[in-house]
């Protein structure tokens, strides 16, 4: 194959195929070895893996904290840890799990999978993607370094004012918490914007909205939820920082501020956040069910509508966190109804998965076991959620261990079980290796039974009057047995997680021989090699159904004509995914890291002086200008048909 003559640029297809194409694409898209390339890479798959590994490390740290708390609570009036330390522990546990594990790990899965599922070569705004990882890392490190230095936050992951305000939380603990929230907001917003643009504009030709894989739908909905909910917490944590640092009085009731303002703004973010964590689980489960039941999930339109309606309802029920605050009764009626209404789309989803199992030919490999564990656990959590939506019940159950049980059923059952199933399912795609099936089944049962033992007794602890966030409880209230059971269960669950990581580590040392589609699945991500090449697809696939690999078993139709000597993406139309433009994709650069370092310095310094925002804006702006410096006329070209 010779160099193209004249104005003809080298493009994939017809004359360029096979090894030669691979080598030239790899030269264009690949990340060469070496530290500099590692730092400057903008490959969505590499950044996703960093995100996932980091999030798992934070999960382990947060999990260790929960074990220490469970030891403290195993017996009444235990003196193992001081109240101050305990309050740091539960604040760090909640903050770490929500901000540093659950949301980032779900977004990281989408960053890896979405471009592969929709058949494109890169995520949109790949440099922003690199930037978001560095910012996320900085926020997490800030929080944990503070904790290790014994200045970790201690006002709860929800940081209610006035307890978190300047008067009752002196020192820098709460400022560190609030600024960590800022870091994770920036990171999450960046990823969400990338995902929305990728999903709406980079789908393979023919992948109309009604042919989009369910996980892509879920990613689209959760990304929009992040975009609409994060500004609320950004605003309120900004208010808090400003109250603490420059003496504003947003939350001070004695200066015409309002303590409840915080709760409204926080939960307007905080409740959608729960669904931002849970909905990706819906996506994972749908894909696992389809693959292992050999049948696409029933009623695709109903599933999509269910996901979208949960996304909408999520913004209408934040006040159910505030039933005890004494707001007007009539308003409560709306939030009760909205909270209960979530049971309808959730019920539709559960129906569709079970019916798919019924009608298909299920094979109970580890990922499908996680789905079964998920349905059992999540339905229980959902039903206790219906209880909590009822004002008279909530006024008793609110802020007790019943609620602790409820949201761990929903978050671990509804999000972590599907996530572990998804790790097992996509592990070959990420690494080229299969996880051990035998070990996987042992792991599942340990996790499942350990979970039930840890969290089921908490329902009773709550009914017996145990409030949340207490570092100890008196003997004689009947709380001894339930708490001891929870502690034993927590250690069993931790053992299960350890087995999972052990399985992954052992599998990683095996030879990469998984093949591109080990489960015989239907989605485009299984059309590429495992692990995928840097450019994902040698040719952009063309899609004519929801299950392309099942319907075109012999030969997936492709589209050719993208440049191979430069990074070029195919842009398609929003609704019908018709080929529209060829657009250049950014090359690797270290500027996102430099911009992240400048931003980090500005954020951290602003904990100590508000002037840091002014001074710190200069290096940040300089880094951004260098990052976006125009490199010549690179305008999108129309597609050559």
């Amino acid at each position: 194959m010779s160099v193209m003559s004249g104005k003809e640029l080298p493009r994939d297809g017809r004359d360029l195929e096979g090894t030669e194409l691979h080598e030239r694409l790899e030269k264009t898209w690949g990340t060469p070895p070496g530290l500099w390339a590692w730092i400057s890479t903008v490959d969505h798959k590499r950044i996703s893996k960093r995100y996932i590994v980091t999030a798992l490390i934070f999960m382990l740290l947060g999990g260790i904290l929960s074990l220490v708390m469970r030891v403290q609570l195993a017996t009444p009036e235990s003196g193992l840890i001081t109240p101050d330390r305990y309050n740091q522990l539960f604040t760090m546990h909640g903050t770490t799990m929500m901000f540093l594990f659950a949301v980032p790990v779900m977004e990281a899965m989408a960053v890896f999978l979405v471009p592969l599922m929709i058949g494109t070569r890169a995520i949109s705004f790949p440099r922003l993607n690199a930037f978001s990882y560095w910012i996320y890392l900085a926020g997490g490190v800030l929080l944990w370094v503070a904790f290790i230095l014994n200045i970790g936050p201690d006002a709860g992951w929800f940081a209610y004012v006035p307890l978190s305000g300047p008067e009752y939380s002196p020192g820098k603990r709460t400022d560190i918490w609030a600024q960590m929230v800022t870091f994770t907001e920036v990171a999450a917003l960046a990823v969400s914007v990338e995902l929305v643009a990728t999903i709406l504009k980079q789908r393979a030709p023919g992948m109309t909205l009604s042919r989009m894989p369910l996980f892509v739908w879920v990613s689209l909905v959760t990304s929009f939820m992040v975009i609409f909910s994060m500004p609320s917490v950004a605003l309120t944590s900004g208010f808090l920082l400003s109250d603490r640092l420059v003496g504003t009085q947003f939350f001070n009731p004695y200066e015409h501020g309002d303590a409840l303002l915080w709760q409204h703004l926080f939960w307007f973010f905080g409740h959608p956040e729960v669904y931002i964590i849970f909905l990706p689980g819906v996506g994972f489960v749908s894909h696992i069910v389809e693959t292992f039941c050999r049948r696409s999930v029933l009623f695709y339109p109903a599933m999509v509508l269910a996901v979208v309606s949960i996304g909408l309802l999520a913004f209408g029920l934040w006040v159910h966190h505030m039933f005890a605050t004494g707001l007007p009764r009539l308003g409560y009626a709306f939030y009760t109804a909205a909270s209960m209404a979530v049971a309808i789309p959730s019920g539709v989803q559960v129906f569709c998965w079970i019916a798919t199992m019924w009608d298909g030919r299920p094979r109970f490999d580890t990922p499908l076991l996680y789905v079964v564990g998920f349905i059992f656990t999540f339905v229980i959590g959902g039903l206790t959620g219906v209880m909590l939506a009822s004002v008279p019940l909530d006024l008793q159950l609110h802020d007790t261990y019943f609620v602790v049980a409820h949201f761990h059923y929903v978050l671990i059952g509804g999000a972590v079980f599907p996530l572990l199933g998804a790790f097992t399912y996509w592990f070959p795609k990420f690494t080229g290796r299969m996880m051990s099936e035998r070990m996987g089944k042992w792991t599942f049962w340990t996790l499942f039974l350990g979970f039930q033992l840890a969290f089921a007794p908490m329902h009773w602890s709550g009914i017996l009057g145990m409030p949340r966030r207490v570092y100890t409880y008196p003997a004689g209230l009947g709380l001894e047995q339930t708490n001891m059971l929870s502690t034993v269960g927590a250690f069993a669950f931790a053992a299960g997680l350890f087995m999972f990581l052990e399985n992954a580590a052992v599998s990683l040392r095996r030879r990469a021989n998984a093949g591109s589609n080990p489960w015989d699945a239907s989605g485009l991500e299984w059309a590429v090699s495992s692990p995928p090449a840097s450019y994902n697809f040698a040719h952009i696939p063309v899609v004519s159904s929801r299950t392309p690999l099942w319907d075109n078993r012999d030969h997936l139709p492709v589209m050719t004509g993208l440049r191979v000597d430069d990074r070029e993406l195919l842009i398609t139309t929003v609704m019908e995914a018709k080929p529209d433009l060829r657009e250049p994709s950014p090359v690797p650069t270290a500027w996102p890291l430099i911009a992240a370092i400048a931003t980090t310095a500005m954020f951290i310094a602003s904990i100590f002086t508000p002037w840091a925002v002014v001074v710190g804006a200069v290096p940040t702006a300089a880094a951004l200008i260098a990052w976006f410096w125009p490199k010549g006329p690179e305008t999108p070209e129309p597609v050559i048909q």
């Binding site: 209610y160 009764r329 129906f351 079970i354 009608d359 219906v386 209880m387 009822s390």
Partner: protein, 333 residues
């Protein structure tokens, strides 16, 4: 139905002084009824889901064509009526539960008759409860701390305020929670139906000693309540022994009096719990310890060791001072 709730609690064994299953107040009993309704409906729904799940797992799946995903859309159709029926069932269940919720909520809110026999103002502080029994006659106002007494069968109107951060007032045996929010005034009604002693605990995280912010609730007959009220209206007796007198002198002239009040003595500061009838209470330090001489010693000698982080400083009493202070405090019945 009221008896049914404990049946759902195999581990509970019996009702305790801090249990939602108590149903010892009007709202608490209504809660129990509603909880049982919800428990039945949700358990039925759970059973339906699990039946479907187990049936789908263990069903003998026909070995259809080996090609996955064949005719999937066409095969969806037979399930359509089932899905519609399932959604209708969920919607009906939710409608039923929502209606039950509204009716129970209204029943709970039904205000007590206009004769305001009992009006209590509770002010939360980090980490103790300031209690005032209000009266139109100032000399009949009672101030106490960390305990309330209620006559059985009579609705008590309770006004809730906070001096610092957000707390939540909750007597699980009697009624649900109500937050105490600085800058706002909230209220609730307690209507105890059974004589007994109960325990209330702060239910909103409020800082270092949130775990040790309890309130003793005594529900008693009208006669017993009145006797208690009359006793609370009396000022502290003069110390009778030399040791108690030494204690009196210390308490009313040294550090103690800068925060605490004892009616009938010069000690009249309002920032800490009222001590006038300290020794008649069931517990010390907002339900942290039972009221015994040993615990009183431990508390006065080293409040920071006994309840770390609380606002009572370590005064550093000499042993003889400590003995005399305890001797005096024990006379405050």
């Amino acid at each position: 139905m009221r008896r049914a709730l404990p049946l759902l609690l195999p581990l509970a064994g019996c009702d305790t002084v801090q249990s939602m299953t108590g149903g010892d107040g009007r709202q608490g009993a209504l809660f129990n009824d509603l909880f049982v309704i919800f428990a039945i409906v949700t358990l039925v729904m759970l059973a339906l889901v699990l039946t479907g799940l187990i049936a789908s797992i263990f069903r003998r799946h026909p070995a259809k064509s080996s090609v996955p995903g064949e005719n999937d859309e066409a095969r969806d159709a037979p399930f359509r009526p089932l899905l519609i029926g399932w959604v209708a069932l969920i919607a009906t269940g939710l409608l039923f539960l929502t209606t039950a919720t509204y009716l129970t909520d209204r029943a709970m809110q039904a205000r007590a008759p206009a004769n305001r026999l009992l009006e209590i103002e509770i002010t939360a502080n980090q980490w103790w409860w300031d209690i005032r029994y209000k009266s139109s006659k100032p000399w009949q106002t009672i101030r106490t701390a960390n305990e309330i007494h209620l006559p059985v069968g009579i609705p008590a109107r309770i006004t809730l305020k906070s001096n610092d951060v957000i707390h939540s007032f909750w007597v699980p045996n009697l009624a649900g929670k109500q937050d105490l929010i600085p800058g706002r005034r909230t209220d609730t009604v307690l209507e105890p139906k059974r004589i007994g002693v109960y325990r209330s605990q702060c239910a909103e995280f409020c800082g270092a000693q949130h775990a040790h912010m309890a309130l003793d609730v005594t529900v008693e007959s009208w006669a017993d309540f009145n006797a208690w009220r009359v006793r609370q209206l009396t000022p502290a007796p003069a110390p009778a022994t030399p040791l108690a007198l030494a204690g009196y002198n210390y308490v009313t002239t040294r550090e103690c009096a800068s925060c605490h009040a004892i009616a009938g003595t010069p000690a009249s500061a309002q920032v800490a719990p009222d001590l006038t009838h300290l020794a008649s209470r069931r517990s010390i330090a907002a339900g942290t310890f039972p009221m015994t001489r040993g615990h009183l010693y431990a508390w006065i000698a080293d409040p920071q060791g006994a309840k770390p982080g609380n606002n009572m400083p370590v005064v550093g009493l000499e042993p003889n001072e400590l003995h005399s202070v305890i001797a005096y405090l024990e006379t405050l019945k």
